[in-house]
Homo-oligomer: 189 residues x 2
Amino acid sequence: MAAWKTLEASVILDCRPFLTVESHRVELPDGQVIPDWTWIRTPDFVSILAQTDSGQFLCFRQEKYGIDGLSLAVPGGFLESGEEPLSGARRELQEETGFEAREWIPLGSYRVDPNRGAGTAYFFLALGACRTGDCLGGDLERQELILLDSSGLETALSAGGFKALSWTATVSLGLHHLDRIRRSADGRH
Amino acid sequence: MAAWKTLEASVILDCRPFLTVESHRVELPDGQVIPDWTWIRTPDFVSILAQTDSGQFLCFRQEKYGIDGLSLAVPGGFLESGEEPLSGARRELQEETGFEAREWIPLGSYRVDPNRGAGTAYFFLALGACRTGDCLGGDLERQELILLDSSGLETALSAGGFKALSWTATVSLGLHHLDRIRRSADGRH
């Protein structure tokens, strides 16, 4: 399969740093041209499932403008300009929770909108998390740090308690990875 | 926690039906006012992990303008105006694959961007899928329907083969749900 080609791009809305909208002139593999394909630029971000050595997962209970009622959430945030995803993940975990982690496992990078861009999400599983400082806060919304054990996290996930796409994806991919680690260890015994 | 209040909303970019951008005047619980909170409207959509009775999962290998190279994907698409998520999921599965499913299990609804909207994703697990007709195609990108068994799906998921956020979330949440069904059945025996 041949990819679509971008022939031209022009900015049609500039709300930097949070959003830029472009109009792309795009050529399809069969030669057909789409004159005005809408393309969305929003910042790339990280999202982290962090677990302590005693098996507790770091979550927030928080409100967000785009979400009805309270939601569970996981640590994360926008990457700074030029920042590597792993560095951004370490920084966000520390700023938001006051925790650092011993082991960082990348869980992949994912396009938010496969048609129109909207940034890339980088997910991480952070093991051996422990508190090394205070959290800085800084988001406009209030949020409360809570620790959930494995059973509590699975129940909340199944109940749809993580109400944003990136949060529920991070938790379910992280649990999937932990399950593979466990099964692989069981297989060796 | 008290929610943020929308005091005013005005459209600043109209690329309907795919995108509208609004500027919101928002009041925080402490009385602080944000005069220009960017709010993104994109269509709500469904995404489906469908399994046949012989344990095969319906996936696509496809290209998308927003994704580098080929990606695995799952069936899904935009809801039509006023359409219920379950009806939209049945329609998309049939249109995209020619399959219908016996049992539909909702896996929750998730805000794409918890700060700025960007639509809501509705995920479903569809069991007992079988072919009842032809697929209609219709998307601009070429896509190839492939069937993966459980092990192939898990390996692809872990390798980051589903390169869009909603696809990887649907697969991991669906597998998580199937695992809970299996463990609950094991517990009864």
